[in-house]
Symmetry: C2
Subunit: 201 residues, 2 copies
DNA sequence: GTCTATAAACGGATAGAC
DNA sequence: GTCTATCCGTTTATAGAC
């Protein structure tokens, strides 16, 4: 089957990246279909050929792409046979690198959940997304509980500790600037040191 | 001068609280003047009597109220003559209690900065707000730097550590539920323990 | 597959009565 | 000080040409 040169056809993924970028800059409510379309050299009407349900579809696709990326990795790490410390450090690194590598998708997970909750007639999509988000948080709770049980970690309030960690990670999407003083790698190292220190003294 | 019973007159502050609440639920872009007005039993047009410049004025007033509250307290604590550990713990408590006591105002500081940045012809207001926000962050940096210098704290990357802390605090406005398992006091205790641990081992 | 044109709805802001 | 009525710009989504 002959394949067209990628750059000659506007792909679904290109539109998704454009949407995530506009959501980051203007928010879901502030983003217009024209904003998104112009990023891929289309007009607003043309987007409906790729996403028939329009803006709501774009939001759901961006959010699902985001959560799928981070959830798959941490679920895998959780199941490995290593110490809780090692696995937690790797889970932190996975999350942080994901945020710094896909800032606009990471920012969507932080700032556009409210828009998701407001979507009418999207109960099913909403519930599936929220379930995955809970599963993501659950992975972090689990590894910390295992570390406490094994004596690697001190006693902490696990839900609060995990919320604090994820808050710190999520906030990276607000202040991180690619090409700045710190690479995503460097930040993930700092976060890992910080939270492991908080658990192991 | 005779004073009218407070509950008979819609006060500026009531409208501000209403606006903060609607911003929290729908976001600045998603909030309508009618939404805000109905919370104080007014119609949209009536709000312009209290806030002539309309929605933008409401946003600026909410954000300035929020930053003023938290900044004043931490600046004061920073200047006290106590150990860095003591002052940091109190600064954390101050910030966390402020967030849990005024969730919608705290949420505005997290979620509506982008709306502020998008405001046209508001450079002056924007700059004054951002300056105060930087000052707030500076207080936390300062106390940690002092603790490192005095040997109370271990060496950390101060900017990253502070961003992580503030991210954890800010995120509280997303998950905190008054009347839930944890009081604001309990959360502030946990946060203090956590970050002091991360600094003192 | 993309365009133009347009329908239909919405929301911020204003004017003027009370 | 609050209301009602209304103007006007914006935006989503659709229809149909190319």
């Amino acid at each position: 089957m002959p394949r067209k040169p990628a750059e000659l056809t506007v792909q679904r993924d290109d539109i998704l990246v454009a949407a995530a970028g506009v959501f980051q800059e203007r928010g879901y409510q502030g983003a217009t279909m024209a904003d998104i379309a112009s990023r891929v050299n289309l007009t607003a009407g043309s987007l409906y050929h790729h996403f028939p349900a329009g803006k709501r579809d774009l939001l759901l696709a961006v959010l699902n792409t985001s959560i799928d990326r981070v959830l798959a990795e941490v679920e895998e790490i959780l199941e490995e046979s290593a110490t809780a410390s090692d696995r937690l450090r790797r889970m932190i690194a996975s999350h942080v690198i994901n945020v710094t590598s896909n800032v606009s998708f990471g920012a969507a997970m932080v700032f556009e959940i409210r828009a998701l909750l407001d979507l009418q007639d999207a109960e099913e999509d909403r519930d599936r997304f929220l379930k995955r988000r809970d599963a993501f948080e659950h992975c972090f709770r689990k590894v910390i509980e295992q570390g406490i049980k094994s004596g690697e970690f001190r006693q902490v309030d696990v839900p609060v500790f995990v919320k604090a960690m994820l808050g710190a990670h999520n906030w990276i999407s607000v202040w991180y600037r690619p090409g700045g003083r710190l690479s995503g790698q460097a930040i993930s190292q700092q976060m890992g040191d910080m939270f492991l220190h908080a658990l192991t003294c």
